[in-house]
């Protein structure tokens, strides 16, 4: 059968012959060369008023080429006679797209919702579902790696002098039964630091002990880390960080995206982690109060660190940092100070033994 093939982009039109083959409507030039073939299921009338009154059929309303038919009924009868399936649509619809601002606002809103609410909620839900034994395995390995990395050159990789270990146990014992379940470590390091890991690991570095004016401050540090364990922060944090950085690196994309993703994840993460630090500080204040230990030595330890590292207290740290500013933490501790510590947490000799926990035995 004859029809007109119209190229709507170039405005050219040529006479063609139409035949059916399998599921195809085959369009041939008058000299018999094949021009195009369309899936008959997808062929339908094109909407619109055409000046010549002829019907146009094609594969989509915005298709670049269509067929102009004098009598569409003939085509349908031929298709029927050839045993073709009925086309899927009565008429093509003109596709309309939402304006760009709608997409942009929708995308940004979804992203903010995901990062601020959905991911933290998911992490909070999923973290406790990770079996304790798996969490402990992760914690065990990170503990070993962190200890290996943090131990200073020529330092003792195994800080376990018997006197120091006894002192550490006695010190933590002051905080009650929860401290008994924790696995306490001292790392021989030049970096003043302390951290808690899944599996009940709590580590304090010798550099942090050197800056403390007594064991009460270290007890405060242990109380803070126990707070992280109590609230299950570690696993939740690992989950949240993984999820948010996966999402952000997908959104931001490419090489530059990688770098940006770290920055943006850090900013998002710092919000939550600052909240968690405040929670852990509050926990420390509570357990110290129950143990009748003043939080002021811990505040003084923070003051010492603030003097050493004034940059750790700036606006940038507040925005990007994982911890609240030291000034804020010192104020919180000072406000909470109720009274003096009742009885020494460690005797002078025990405190000395604790600070020497990393000293290698004579002769080694």
């Amino acid at each position: 059968m004859q029809a007109q093939y119209e190229d709507r982009q170039t405005g050219r039109a040529i006479a063609v012959r139409l035949t059916f083959l399998d599921q195809w409507l085959v369009i041939e030039r008058e000299d018999g060369r094949e021009l195009d073939r369309w899936s008959w299921r997808d062929v339908a009338p094109i909407p619109g008023d055409f000046p010549d009154g002829r019907m146009r059929v094609g594969l989509a309303a915005d298709a670049h080429a269509v067929l102009a038919l004098d009598d569409p009924d003939i085509l349908l009868r031929r298709a029927h006679a050839a045993g073709m399936q009925q086309p899927a649509q009565r008429e093509h619809r003109v596709r309309r797209d939402l304006p760009l601002p709608v997409w942009l606002v929708g995308a940004v809103l979804s992203l903010v919702l995901l990062v601020q609410f959905v991911i933290p909620a998911m992490a909070g839900m999923l973290a406790p579902l990770v079996p304790a034994s798996w969490q402990a395995r992760i914690g065990d390995q990170v503990q070993t790696i962190a200890a290996t990395l943090l131990t200073r050159k020529d330092g003792n990789a195994q800080c376990a002098a018997p006197g120091g270990v006894a002192a550490l146990k006695k010190l933590a014992g002051r905080l009650g039964p929860m401290a008994g379940t924790a696995r306490l470590h001292v790392i021989d390091s030049d970096l003043p630091n302390a951290f808690a890991l899944p599996g009940g690991h709590v580590s304090v570095t010798t550099a942090l002990m050197d800056r403390a004016d007594g064991p009460d401050a270290i007890l405060g540090v242990i109380g803070h880390e126990l707070g992280h364990l109590h609230h299950g922060h570690s696993m939740e944090r690992v989950m949240r960080y993984s999820l948010s950085s996966a999402l952000i690196s997908m959104v931001v994309g490419d090489i530059g995206g990688g770098a940006l993703a770290v920055g943006v994840s850090q900013m998002v993460e710092s919000d939550f982690s600052q909240d968690q630090e405040r929670q852990a500080d509050a926990f420390a204040i509570d357990v110290l109060a129950q143990a009748r230990v003043s939080p002021l030595p811990l505040a003084r330890l923070f003051e010492t660190i603030r003097t050493e590292h004034p940059e750790a207290d700036g606006a940038l740290v507040e925005w990007m940092g994982s911890h609240p500013t030291l000034s804020e933490r010192i104020n919180t501790l000072q406000r909470a100070a109720g009274g003096q510590t009742a009885g020494a947490v460690l005797e002078e000799g025990e405190w000395r033994a604790l600070r020497d926990i990393c000293r290698k035995p004579e002769g080694n």
């Binding site: 405005g11 195009d36 594969l59 290996t148 195994q158 004034p310």
Partner: protein, 418 residues
């Protein structure tokens, strides 16, 4: 209904007779304005946290497409930033569940369990490979449908399933042969991909073979095999240590410090792999020249009489500029750290500044240098025979996709387009 007039109506013969049957393409691509555009794009992309990249890419493509003319008429890139952006959003929504599952599994594997981590990475890489294939299909289709010349658009057959199967089959053979069969399968896949592509009512066809590619591929393959072998040997102490770390939790025996890498083995491995990469580069150049020369559009034959050594300066200069710039960046970074002191707050800005420089450098080398030079060389050497085919072209009835290449953006760079 839109109807665009032809720049040259092929039905009306030109005043000086019919156009010649043989010829080439003209490439007119001044580098200055392109560099300005690339720098502005980088800046805007960073300022918008990456969102501008869709519009940035569109603008670059418009310049590159527009620089190429055939019979006096330039190619036009008709894609839009909005299409790319929406395509990306749609792909992101589809990929999100996978991203979440991967992130959760990743968080649950202990960091020193190297064996498990390695297995996990392999599974993720295979999944990404599958997605990469889909991405390549959609990206090709998008780029072809958004390429217009004299009102005629390109396109690709709708056969995602077959496309994936054919490529998976080829990749499997490459994997089983440890990469040895790559040239053969590269040719086979090029012929297949070309065969499902068309421009207007004419179909592309390719008869590429691996002949002439082996002499450059095999040496590079050997270098890789030996280089990676050396790397595995160098990696063994770390593997043993990681096993000891896991054991340490049960036995309580400290595994000792992380082993230092044996420098000799690593240096040898690095040299071999670098040489192998350079060899593979040579192979890729020769392959592109050979394959393009084995292509045709209907009866119009492509011929690219270009020697590998004529284009070797392109990757060499690019690499040199890259290395020198990176060294300079490190030097500047070290200088600022020393000058400002390690505690200075201003140093927080240094990574940001270096990132802007690095990204600008990246786009300048890959687009303003490499792509411009490649296009110029093709413009200078490509010969087309039986160009009369072009006079007969009409558009096809198959609708173009409304969304951009999306998936390619969501899973990262797959080496398609600017």
């Amino acid at each position: 209904m839109t109807s665009l007039p032809l720049a040259h109506d092929p039905d009306s013969p030109a005043a000086d007779g019919p156009p010649p049957a043989d010829g080439g393409i003209e490439v007119h691509l001044p580098r200055g304005p392109l560099i300005g555009l690339l720098l502005l794009n980088t800046l805007l992309t960073i300022l918008t946290l990456g969102f501008y990249r869709f519009w940035a890419r569109t603008k670059v493509r418009r310049v590159l497409w527009g620089a190429v003319s055939l019979r006096g008429d330039a190619f036009v890139y008709t894609g839009t930033g909005k299409e790319l952006f929406i395509g990306f959003l749609v792909a992101l929504v589809a990929l999100l569940p996978f991203g979440v599952i991967i992130a959760i599994l990743n968080a649950m594997i202990p960091p020193a369990a190297f064996g498990q981590r390695f297995a996990f990475q392999i599974v993720v890489a295979l999944g990404a490979g599958l997605l990469g294939l889909m991405a390549m299909y959609f990206a090709r289709r998008y780029l072809l449908t958004r390429t217009r010349w004299r009102g005629i658009h390109g396109g690709q057959d709708r056969e995602l399933g077959r496309f994936m199967l054919k490529h998976l089959n080829a990749y499997l053979l490459v994997l089983v042969s440890f990469g040895l069969l790559q040239p053969k399968l590269d040719a086979r896949m090029y012929n297949y991909r070309t065969g499902i592509s068309w421009f207007g009512t004419e179909r592309f066809r390719a008869t590429a073979t691996s002949a002439g590619l082996w002499s450059v591929y095999l040496p590079s393959w050997l270098l890789f095999v030996v280089g990676y072998g050396a790397m595995i040997v160098g990696f063994m102490p770390l593997m043993t240590w990681s096993a000891a770390v896991q054991e340490a939790q049960v036995t309580g025996v400290h595994p000792g410090p992380m082993p230092a890498f044996e420098p000799t083995v690593w240096i040898v491995a690095a040299i071999l792999i670098t040489l192998g990469t350079a060899g593979f580069f040579l192979y890729a150049i020769r392959r592109s020249i050979a394959f393009l020369g084995a292509t045709q559009l209907g009866d119009m034959l492509f011929n690219l009489p270009l020697r590998t050594r004529q284009v070797l300066y392109i990757p060499l200069v690019g690499t040199l500029v890259y290395v020198v710039s990176l060294v300079l960046m490190v030097a500047v970074g070290v200088f600022f750290v020393r000058a400002l002191g390690p505690g200075n707050t201003a140093l927080f800005l240094l990574p940001l500044v270096l990132m802007v420089v690095f990204l600008s450098l990246n786009s300048l080398i890959s687009v303003a240098w490499t792509q411009v030079e490649v296009l110029r060389q093709i413009g200078r050497h490509l010969r087309l025979r039986n160009m009369g085919v072009l006079d007969d072209l009409l558009n096809r009835g198959q609708p173009a996709p409304t969304r951009g290449e999306g998936l390619a953006d969501a899973i990262g760079d797959i080496g398609i387009g600017a």
